[in-house]
C-alpha cells in the first residue's frame, strides 16, 4: 500500500461525503414535487408523459397498487427486451451484422437488465449491435435504476408517514427519477467521459494496420452515453466485454474517478433524502456512516491483500512493488483497481476495471462478501437504501429489546408482521446463493463452466450466484456462463434476488405507513449515534458472516491458506 494510494481513496471518500447532502437535497425536492431548476425545461415533458399514459400524478397508490404497477412495468420491460434481443439481426444500427441471441442468453440478458443486475453472459463487442445497446440496454439502465429509486422512496414514505394508506405513485417516481435525476446527470457525465477519450459514434469497427504491420480491428460504438448511465444507475453492464477495464470504456485515471463517483452518487445522496423525509438528517447520516465503515474496511482489506502481490510470484523473483497485477490495468494500478472493485460490489453496480477472478484470495473475498451482505453498503440506487433499512429493522429489534421496550425505529413499532416480512426478504439471499451454488457444484453442467479448478473454481460458482442474487453483475469472469444451465439458473437467481426481496419489502412499507407514530423519549434507543452505527454494522456483518461462513471457508479462505503453502491447482 502506498501513501498515494490512500490519498486517492480518501479524496474519493471526502468528495462523496461532500456531495451527499446537495444530492440528497436535490432528490428530496424532485420527489417532493417541488420546483427545481429543470422544472421549466422539462416540466412539460413530465406532464405530457402522464397525459399520454393516463396517469393522475396527484393520486397516490397503496403498497399493493404501487407494487403491481412496478411489476407490470418490469414485465413490459422484460418482454420488450427479450424480443429485441431475439430480433437483433433484423434491426438497424448493426454495422457488424450481429445475429439474434440464443433464447437462453436472451432470457438471461433480459432478466439481467430488468433487475438492474447487468450480469453479462455475453461479450458486448462480439454480441450486441449498437441498436441493441442503445434501444435495449441503455433504456433498461435508466428505467431499472428509476424503479429502484422509486421503491426506496416508497419504503421511506412508509417510515415517514403516520397512519397512512398510500406510499406514493410509481409512475410519478419512475418518470421524475428518469427525467430530473438520471438523464441530466448522465448527459453531463457522458460529455466528460467523451472528453477523456471515450468513443461516441455509430461507425463500423475500425481496421488498423499496426506499427508491426498486423491487422487490428478496433471495436467502436456509442459508448459514452451508455457508460454514464451504467455507472450512475449502478447497472454495471459493460459496453465491451472487459467492461471498465477496457481503455475505451475507462480511458484515464480521471474517467475512472468520475465513474466510481457516479456509482455511489445516488445511493449516498438517498441516505440524506431519507433523513430529510423522516425529518432528521442525522438519521440519514447514521446510515451513511454505517455504510462508510463497511466500505472503508472493505477497501482497506482489498487494497492490503492485493498490495501483497501473489506470494508464489514473489518466490519466482518477480518484483511486485505495487502488488498483484494479473488482470489489472497499468493506468489504474492496485489502489484504483481495489477501490473500484470494492465500490462496484458495495453498490450493486458490477462494472469492473480489473478482473476479480485474478485477485488474490483475500482480495477477491472482499467483493464477494460485499455482495453477500446484501448490497447494503451504499448498494444499488434505491436498493441499497431499502436493503439497509430492513437490516436496521432487525438491528433495532434486537437492540430495542435490550433497552427494555418494544423495539421502534423512526417512531414505528417493530412487530411480528414487520419481522416476518423482513426475514422473508432477507432469507431469499442465502436460499438462492447457497442453493444454486450447491446444485452447480455437483452437476456436470455447473462444473463444465469453470476456468479454474480447486477452491478457486468453487469461488467462481459461488461468486456467480452471489452476484446474480445480489443483482450485482460482476463476475469471477473465468466462468463460462453462456450455457443454458448457467443462463437459466443465474436468471432465476436474479429474479429471486430482485423481486422476492422487493415484494415483502413493499409489504413492510405498507405496514409501516399504516402505523401510528410513537415519539421518541429518553427511553427510546437513539438511532443516530455511534452505538446504533456500530450495532447496525455488527448485525449486517454477523448475519451475513454466519450465513456464508462455510461457503467462504471452502472458497477464498482455503485458497488463501493454500497459496501460503505454495499449493497450486
Amino acid at each position: 500500500m502506498t501513501i498515494n494510494g490512500w490519498i486517492q481513496i480518501l479524496i474519493y471518500f471526502a468528495l462523496l461525503t461532500a456531495l451527499t447532502r446537495p444530492v440528497g437535497g436535490y432528490l428530496y425536492r424532485v420527489f417532493n414535487g417541488e420546483r427545481i431548476l429543470l422544472s421549466r425545461p422539462l416540466g412539460w415533458l413530465e406532464r405530457g408523459f402522464y397525459r399520454c399514459a393516463g396517469v393522475d400524478s396527484q393520486t397516490e397508490q397503496s403498497w399493493i397498487s404501487y407494487t403491481l404497477a412496478m411489476l407490470a412495468f418490469n414485465l413490459v420491460c422484460f418482454v420488450a427486451l427479450f424480443l429485441l434481443l431475439l430480433a437483433q439481426g433484423h434491426l438497424p444500427f448493426n454495422p457488424q451484422g450481429f445475429g439474434a441471441l440464443t433464447p437462453d442468453l436472451a432470457f438471461n440478458t433480459a432478466i439481467s437488465f430488468v433487475t438492474n443486475t447487468n450480469w453479462q453472459s455475453y461479450g458486448g463487442e462480439t454480441t450486441m449491435s449498437y441498436g441493441t445497446q442503445m434501444l435495449g440496454l441503455t433504456v433498461h439502465n435508466f428505467v431499472s435504476a428509476a424503479t429502484g429509486i422509486g421503491l426506496a422512496l416508497a419504503l421511506v414514505r412508509g417510515f415517514a408517514r403516520r397512519s397512512a394508506s398510500t406510499i406514493g405513485n410509481f409512475w410519478v417516481d419512475l418518470t421524475r427519477a428518469t427525467l430530473y435525476v438520471l438523464l441530466p446527470i448522465s448527459i453531463v457525465a457522458a460529455l466528460f467521459l467523451i472528453w477523456q477519450g471515450m468513443p461516441q459514434n455509430l461507425s463500423a469497427y475500425t481496421n488498423a494496420l499496426t506499427l508491426e504491420g498486423v491487422k487490428q480491428t478496433i471495436a467502436q460504438g456509442p459508448v459514452a452515453s451508455q457508460v454514464a448511465i451504467k455507472m450512475l444507475g449502478t447497472n454495471g453492464g459493460g459496453f465491451f466485454n472487459a467492461n471498465a477495464a477496457h481503455p475505451f470504456e475507462n480511458p484515464t485515471a480521471l474517467s475512472n474517478f468520475l465513474q466510481i463517483l457516479l456509482i455511489f452518487l445516488i445511493p449516498a445522496g438517498l441516505t440524506n433524502t431519507f433523513g430529510r423525509m423522516v425529518k432528521s438528517e442525522l438519521q440519514g447520516w447514521a446510515l451513511y456512516s454505517a455504510m462508510s465503515v463497511l466500505f472503508l474496511v472493505g477497501v482497506a482489506t482489498c487494497y492490503w491483500a492485493e498490495s501483497q502481490g501473489n506470494p508464489q510470484l514473489t518466490t519466482m523473483g518477480i518484483s511486485q512493488p505495487i502488488g498483484n497485477m494479473e488482470g489489472k490495468e497499468t493506468r489504474f494500478g492496485v489502489a484504483n483497481s481495489t477501490l473500484f472493485a470494492t465500490i462496484t460490489t458495495d453498490a450493486s453496480c458490477g462494472a469492473v476495471n480489473a478482473m476479480h477472478d485474478s485477485f488474490t484470495p483475500l482480495g477477491g473475498l472482499v467483493p464477494m462478501v460485499n455482495m453477500m451482505l446484501g448490497e447494503v453498503i451504499f448498494g444499488g440506487v434505491g436498493a441499497g437504501l431499502y436493503g439497509i433499512l430492513l437490516y436496521a429493522l432487525i438491528a433495532v429489534f434486537i437492540a430495542g429489546l435490550m433497552v427494555g421496550r418494544t423495539p421502534e425505529y423512526l417512531g414505528k413499532k417493530i412487530e411480528a408482521r414487520e419481522i416476518k416480512l423482513t426475514m422473508l426478504a432477507i432469507l431469499c439471499l442465502p436460499l438462492s446463493i447457497l442453493g444454486f451454488t450447491a446444485v452447480s457444484s455437483v452437476l456436470s453442467q455447473g462444473l463444465a463452466g469453470l476456468a479454474n479448478t480447486g477452491p478457486h473454481g468453487f469461488s467462481e460458482m459461488l461468486y456467480a450466484y452471489t452476484s446474480a442474487t445480489a443483482n450485482n453483475g460482476s463476475a469471477f469472469a473465468g466462468l463460462t456462463a453462456n450455457t443454458p444451465f448457467y443462463n437459466v439458473t443465474l436468471g432465476i437467481a436474479m429474479l429471486i434476488g430482485r423481486f422476492a426481496f422487493i415484494v415483502p419489502m413493499m409489504a413492510t412499507a405498507g405496514a409501516l405507513a399504516a402505523k401510528k407514530y410513537t415519539p421518541p423519549s429518553a427511553g427510546t434507543f437513539p438511532t443516530t449515534g455511534g452505538l446504533f452505527i456500530a450495532l447496525l454494522v455488527g448485525v449486517i456483518v454477523i448475519v451475513g458472516g454466519l450465513t456464508f461462513f462455510p461457503a467462504i471457508a471452502l472458497g477464498p479462505i482455503v485458497e488463501h491458506l493454500a497459496i501460503l503453502t505454495g499449493k497450486a491447482y
Binding site: A72, G136, L211, A253, F257, I318, Q320, N324, E326, A568
Partner: protein, 201 residues
C-alpha cells in the same frame, strides 16, 4: 394489475424514445461536434493509414520495440471459424486471463515468461507488469519500470545507447493526474512511435 398495463406500456415506449433514441443520438451528435477525435476512438494515422488508437495497446513482439502487457484475448481461428485461438490485443474481443492466483496455468505461464525476460536482462528483477496479463487484454500502458527493464534488449536490437532510451522513456512517462490520481504510465505505442522516429531498427 390490468389498470397498470396501459401506463406500463405507454411510459415504457416514451422512456425508450427519450433514453434509448433521443439521448444516445444527441450525445453522438454533440460528441462529434465537440470532441471528434476522442469520439471516434482517438485514432492515430501515419502516412494516411490508421495504425491504431492511442488508447488501445498493440501486440509488439519484435526485439526492437517496447513490449506491452500480456494479452489474453483470442480470436476466431482463420482455419476453422468454430474454434478460437490466442490472438493477443484483439481489440474486437477484450478479455482478461481470469486465471486465479493458485492456478497452475498462471504459474506455468509466469515461470516461462520470467525465464525469457531474465535471459534478456539478468541484472534486474522482472517487473510484474511484464509477466501478468492486463484486465482488458488491450492495456496501452506499461509502468516506467517495465519500460526501463526492456532497455538493454532494445539497445542491443537497435544499436542505441541505454541513456538515450532511458531519456526517451522519461519523456514519454505520464505522471498521475494532478500528481494524485492513477499511476505513472508509459504509452507503449507512443513510445515505439518515438523510437521509430529516433532510428529504424
Amino acid at each position: 394489475m390490468f389498470s397498470h398495463i396501459r401506463p406500463a406500456i405507454v411510459l415504457f415506449v416514451l422512456l425508450t424514445l427519450l433514453t434509448g433514441v433521443a439521448y444516445p443520438l444527441a450525445m453522438t451528435g454533440a460528441a462529434q461536434a465537440l470532441f471528434p477525435a476522442q469520439a471516434n476512438g482517438s485514432l492515430i494515422t501515419k502516412n494516411g493509414h490508421i495504425i491504431g488508437s492511442s488508447l488501445i495497446g498493440q501486440n509488439f513482439v519484435g526485439d526492437g520495440y517496447f513490449h506491452g502487457r500480456l494479452s489474453a484475448t483470442s480470436g476466431a481461428d482463420p482455419t476453422d471459424a468454430s474454434k478460437t485461438i490466442s490472438s493477443p490485443y484483439n481489440a474486437a474481443n477484450s478479455v482478461g486471463s481470469n486465471l486465479g492466483p493458485t492456478s497452475k496455468a498462471l504459474l506455468d505461464r509466469v515461470a516461462a515468461d520470467t525465464a525469457k525476460l531474465k535471459a534478456e536482462n539478468p541484472n534486474a528483477l522482472v517487473p510484474a507488469e511484464l509477466v501478468t496479463a492486463s484486465g482488458s487484454g488491450l492495456d496501452p500502458h506499461i509502468s516506467p519500470e517495465s519500460a526501463l527493464f526492456q532497455v538493454p534488449r532494445i539497445a542491443r536490437a537497435r544499436g542505441l545507447n541505454e541513456q538515450q532510451l532511458q531519456a526517451l522513456i522519461g519523456v514519454h512517462t505520464d505522471g498521475r493526474w494532478l500528481g494524485l490520481l492513477g499511476e505513472p504510465v508509459v504509452n507503449v505505442l507512443a513510445l515505439n512511435l518515438a523510437l521509430d522516429a529516433v532510428g529504424k531498427p
